[in-house]
Each structure stands twice: as C-alpha cells, then as structure tokens.
C-alpha cells in the first residue's frame, strides 16, 4: 500500500536535515506502529507524506499503491486515499465541523469521479458514526475543533477518518491526551475500519495503545530513519527499557 524508500527530507527554510534515508513498507491489510524518541522526525514524516509545505525532499521516493505521492498536491493525496490524523488538530473558527466534513467528503468524491453525497445521506451517516465515537450533535455544529478538549479533538480526527474511508491511515499520536475510556473508543473506531484493503501507520509513544490496536509490525525511528523493526514485542521492550538499548544494538 505505502512504500517509502530512502527518504531524505530537509526544511525548506533552514539547512536542517530531518529525515535521513527512511525506508518503510506497509502492505494493505496491515497495521504498523512507529515509536521513537521526541524529535526523531515522526510527525515530519507524516507531514511530508500528506503534502505539507515547508519541506524539501532531497532524495528517495514515497508511493501509495504504486503511485508517486510526492508529486501530488495535499488534496490530491487525500483523494488518492491518504489520511493523516494530526498530532495537533487545527482549530478553524468560523467553519462549522459539519460543513467542513461534507465539503471534504464531496471534494474527494468529486476528485475520484464519484457521485456527491446528498445532504440527507451525509447527515444520516455522520450521525451514526458520531454516535459510535460519543461525539454529540452539538460538537458537530461547532466550528472545527474550536473549544474542543484535547480528547475531543482526537475523537474528531477519527470521525473524519471514518467519514472519509481512506485507504492509508496515518495516526500521529492519536492516543496522547486521551483518557482510558476515550482510548477504548478511538481504538474501537480504528479497529472497525481494519480491512484487507486498508493499511494503518500508527505513531505512538505508548505500548498501551497497541494493546487495543494490535500491530503487525513495530518500527523504531531515531535520527530520521527506521533503526529497528519487529513484532508487537518490540513495543513492550521500549516500554520497559526505553530507547537507549535499542539504539545501541541498532
């Protein structure tokens, strides 16, 4: 599904290399986790894949189902099936959550040459999905993420993912800031979307999330590349001993 090879990325404005030869492959149907120390470049990877400005790819490739991602505009990547649940979801005063999501769903459908969703159908679908995530009607009416608590913002990201039904979902620390119950809700939301035709890349600092969303592969990222990959037991090792041992052995 997602294939990254030897990716080198620097900041556009400064001479600062952040990703230094990162390679990673997530096949369809699998869940991969990325763990790694603060500042190792995990969010940068997610931004570069989803098309944020300000980064320069100096080497390497990234493809989604064989199509070059790096050549596309952010919205084209989304229409191609890429989704990023932001580490810090953005507040947009003045744009209603509902309007935003309907615009997004229909923009993607249009870009793919599919029929737009009617207002009535959209309402029906979003209500059902919001209910599963315990997002109340009031939150849907409010401006995007404005006045949402940290946990509510993260649940709103998962709601967007559920509505957009992407093929490749990148979750950047969706678990941070969640209480125990919300973690369960979000994990259930993610697990409900697990599908042979869909893949997940879950960035997290905590093994706890991976008890709920059991990964096929765990990658350890440090200094802008993947330094070790393994099964779910790797996450337990991180939890117990930190990164120092792993990085030495790498």
């Amino acid at each position: 599904m997602l294939k990254i090879e030897n990716l080198h990325v620097k900041l556009e404005e400064e001479d600062k290399q952040i990703l230094k030869g990162l390679s990673l492959e997530v096949p369809a149907g699998e869940v991969h986790a990325i763990m790694g120390p603060n500042g190792s470049g995990k969010s940068t990877l997610s931004y570069v894949l989803s098309g944020k400005d300000g980064y320069e790819v100096t080497d390497g490739t990234a493809t989604l189902e064989g199509n070059d991602l790096l050549d596309l505009e952010a919205e084209e990547r989304a229409a191609a099936g890429l989704f990023l649940a932001f580490q810090y979801p953005v507040e947009i005063p003045g744009v209603g959550n509902m309007t935003f999501l309907r615009t997004a769903v229909n923009a993607q459908r249009k870009a793919r040459g599919e029929e737009e969703m009617s207002a009535a159908e959209f309402l029906k679908v979003i209500r059902a999905k919001a209910k599963d995530l315990k997002i109340d009607a009031d939150m849907l009416k409010r401006p995007v993420n404005v006045g949402f608590s940290g946990g509510e913002k993260k649940r709103n990201e998962i709601l967007q993912m559920a509505m957009l039904e992407p093929k490749m979902c990148i979750l950047d620390e969706t678990d941070s800031g969640l209480d125990v119950d919300a973690m369960k809700l979000v994990s259930d939301g993610v697990n409900a979307l697990r599908d042979p035709n869909r893949a997940f890349l879950v960035i997290t600092h905590y093994q706890r999330l991976l008890d709920h969303i059991v990964p096929d592969v765990v990658h350890i990222m440090a200094g802008g590349k993947i330094v070790k990959s393994g099964g779910p037991e790797l996450a337990l090792e991180v939890e117990k001993n930190g990164y120092a041992d792993l990085m030495e052995s790498a």
Binding site: E73, A74, E75, P89, V90
Partner: protein, 434 residues
C-alpha cells in the same frame, strides 16, 4: 500656520464653487427649501473634503468632489440573480437615480407611510421636516461631512418612510445603473415611531457616481434592521452616509456587503440619546485590484446603559486598499456604556493594504469599551488541514475567507438574510476564481 490654513480653506471653497457650478438647487415647498438652504449654507462654510482633512487621509476625495463623475461602465452581472430576489418585499426602484414606477411596487404597506422625496418636496409641510437634514446636521459635529450636506441640499429624490407599527415585510430600495455617465444624489429618511419595527434592504450600484444619504430616527422601543449589498461592480464610485438618532430601548442593526468598486466611502454616525439602546453596525468587503473601500464610523453614547458594536471585515488582494476609521465617543453621564469595535483585514497577498484608525474618547468613568484592529494573512496551518482532508486549495481559501467575515454576517439578526448574504458571498468568491 494661519496662512496655510486659510489657503487650504480657500482651496476647498474653490473646489466647491466648481462643483456647485454643475448643480442646481431643486425647487420645492417651504419645508424642504428651508432644509436645503440650510444644508447649502453649511456646505459653503465647510467647502469640499480635501486630502489634508483628518478623516480623509486614507481616502482621496477627488472622484467624489469632481463637478462631473468619471464615466463608469455598467457592470455585466451575467446570469447572477439580483440580491434579495426571492424575498417578499416592497420594491422601490431607481434607475440612475430616477424613480422607475413600472419596476416598483405599490407603495402601500400596513403601518407604514411611504412617500417619494420628489413628491413630498412639492408640499409646503411634511412629517419628514423634523428628520430630513436634521440628523445629518447633528452628524456634522465634531466631524464635518460636506458631501452629506451637499446631498441634503441637492438630492433629487429618495424615499421618506414613516413606520408606526410592525412592518409586515421589508422595504427594498433597488438602485440600478444603466448610464455610464450618470451622477445620482438620493436622500432617504426613515422615522420609526415608538415601538415600530422595519427592515430596510438596499442593493445595487445606482449610477456611475452615487451620493446617498440615509437618515434614521428611531423612537423609544423601536427597532430598525438594515441590510445592504452594494454589489460587485468594478467601477463603482460611491459615498454613502447613514445618520442615526436613537431613543431609549431602541435597536439599530446595519450590515453592508461590498465587493470591488473603484471608490466606496461608507460613513455612519449613530447617536444614542436614550438609555438601554443598542446599535450594531457591521460590514464585509472584498477587494481585488483597483479597489478602495472606506468605512468611517462614529458612535456617540449619550445615555446610560447603551450597547454598541462595530464589526468590520475586509478581504484584500492585488493592490486593493481597505480603510477603517471608527470612533466610540462616550459622553459625560453615559455610565454603564458597553462599546466594542473590531476591524480586521485578511490580506491575501503582499500588495494589499489595510489602513485603520480606531479611536475611543471617553468622558464617563463606569464604562466598558474596547477596540481591536488586526491585519493578517491566511493561516497556513488551517489551509493545510483543509487540503489534507481533500478540499482543493481554492475552495479551502474561500472557506477561510467566509469564516473570516462570518463574524460580521452574524450581526444580521434574521437567519434567512444571514444565509442569503453568505450564499451571495460564496457565489462571488466562486465567480472570482472563475
């Protein structure tokens, strides 16, 4: 210094003499002739506005002062539906400043008296006597408004509306522009008796050059709503004055949507003379290219416990200039005043310019007044968030533009008008993207 000042005044009077050469005082009955002569008298004392005048530093008055208007091409609206087209209303149509009976409705509405100025002017006496030119005169202190005095003196027509009850539908003034060289001067008066309520709609470019006054006298407990769409024609040259006097417990709400235009100066002066009154004035302007748009607002709190709100939003790009001059004056004794002013611009590129002059002048001690003026660009993080969800860049920008002006549109009380204005804005933005 004194010599320089004398020279300046002489220049203003010369400009006026030239302008007056192209105008004739319309004939009329005693009441209006008196009002017109008095306005002409104050105009002659002031002269025309000059770039050195305190409130004309941001906006060059030349186009508005010139004896003849610069020609302005009639704008082709294509297949665009006229604003308020679906609203059940009393339509009053002026074409290049001339009343068009065929396109207008019957001027009858329960609880409302509607007269045309041109007709009422023939009488010796009219109920409008206490309002016409009077509220405008009050607005001349402390800031002179020569073009408003010129309007009172020379307006050829307009409507005089007296509301005694709750008007069942809005009155809609439609100003059409068909002649490239027309110069229209219209003067409207609205008098709301105690407890009365009216919604006034205005739209259209009116003429190549348009000088328009609206005087509003709102008695105790009366409510007035004003929604205006000035249009998106590129060559508009307009100066409008809205002069308001409010009694106790009264409500005044005004919103204006403007796009494009070569020069648009919207002045307002609101005086709150009775306790517990509320005045809200808001505007949203979109400017692109050779666009100059100026809101100059003066709100006087002259009674206790009144509330005022000014919310102005301008979206500017490609050399467009937006100006905002807003003042809240709280007079001695106007305790418990709650005054708030916000003027913001969204600059879509480096060529656009926003000039702001927010002012507070307060002579009472127990008041809450604030103002905030900001200029900013599109928030890149918001833009990326929208695009990352699949919304294309153009649509995402439009969503953020609408979000930016939403606060001004929110000032419209009626939800269906809020929706209509928002949809209109969306369609204008869409057209602009082509």
């Amino acid at each position: 210094m004194a010599v320089a000042k004398e020279k300046l005044l002489a220049r203003k009077r010369d400009a006026l003499a030239e302008r007056l050469g192209a105008l004739t005082l319309p004939e009329g009955g005693a009441w209006i002739t008196e009002a017109r002569k008095s306005a002409l008298g104050r105009l002659e004392a002031m002269g025309l506005p000059a770039p050195r005048d305190e409130y004309w530093r941001f906006t060059k008055p030349d186009l508005l002062n010139a004896p003849k208007p610069a020609p302005a091409a009639v704008f082709d609206h294509g297949d665009e539906m006229p604003v308020f087209g679906e609203v059940d209303r009393i339509k009053i149509v002026f074409v290049d400043g001339v009343f068009d009976a065929a396109q207008s409705d019957d001027l009858t509405l329960a609880g409302v008296e509607i007269d045309r100025l041109a007709e009422a002017a023939k009488a010796d006496i009219h109920w409008a006597k206490g309002v016409f030119g009077t509220v405008e005169l009050a607005s001349q202190t402390p800031v002179e408004r020569p073009l408003a005095a010129l309007n009172t003196a020379f307006a050829t027509d307009g409507v005089l509306i007296r509301v005694t009850g709750k008007a069942a539908k809005p009155i809609s003034l439609i100003y059409k522009h068909e002649d490239d060289c027309s110069d229209a001067i219209l003067h409207n008066v609205v008098k709301l008796e105690p407890g009365a309520e009216l919604t006034l709609l205005e739209n259209g470019p009116a003429a190549a050059r348009f000088n328009k006054c609206l005087e509003v006298d709102i008695a105790d407990g009366a409510r007035f709503h004003h929604i205006r769409a000035q249009g998106r024609d590129h060559e508009r040259q307009a100066v409008t004055g809205m002069f308001v006097r409010q009694g106790a417990e009264s409500l005044f709400k005004s919103f204006t949507l403007t796009a494009n235009g070569r020069l648009t100066r919207n002045e307002s002066f609101i005086e709150m003379k009775g306790a517990n009154a509320s005045a809200h004035i808001a505007g949203a302007a979109l400017g692109h290219g050779d666009f100059h748009h100026d809101d100059t607002v003066f709100i006087t709190h002259d009674a206790e416990n009144c509330e005022s709100r000014q919310v102005f939003k301008k979206v500017l790009q490609k050399g467009a200039v937006g100006a905002f001059q807003g003042k809240i004056l709280v007079k001695r004794g106007a305790q418990k005043t709650d005054g708030y002013q916000k003027s913001q611009s969204l600059l879509l590129d480096d060529e656009a310019q926003f000039l702001a002059k927010p002012e507070l002048e307060i002579y009472a001690d127990d008041v809450a007044c604030s103002h905030g003026s900001t200029s900013g660009a599109i928030d890149e993080d918001m833009l990326f968030y929208l695009r990352a969800r699949g919304v294309d860049k153009g649509t995402a920008m439009d969503l953020l533009v609408i979000a930016f002006v939403a606060e001004a549109i929110e000032e419209i009380e009626d939800e269906s008008f809020r929706e209509e204005i928002t949809e209109r804005l969306e369609s204008w933005l869409l057209r602009r993207r082509g």
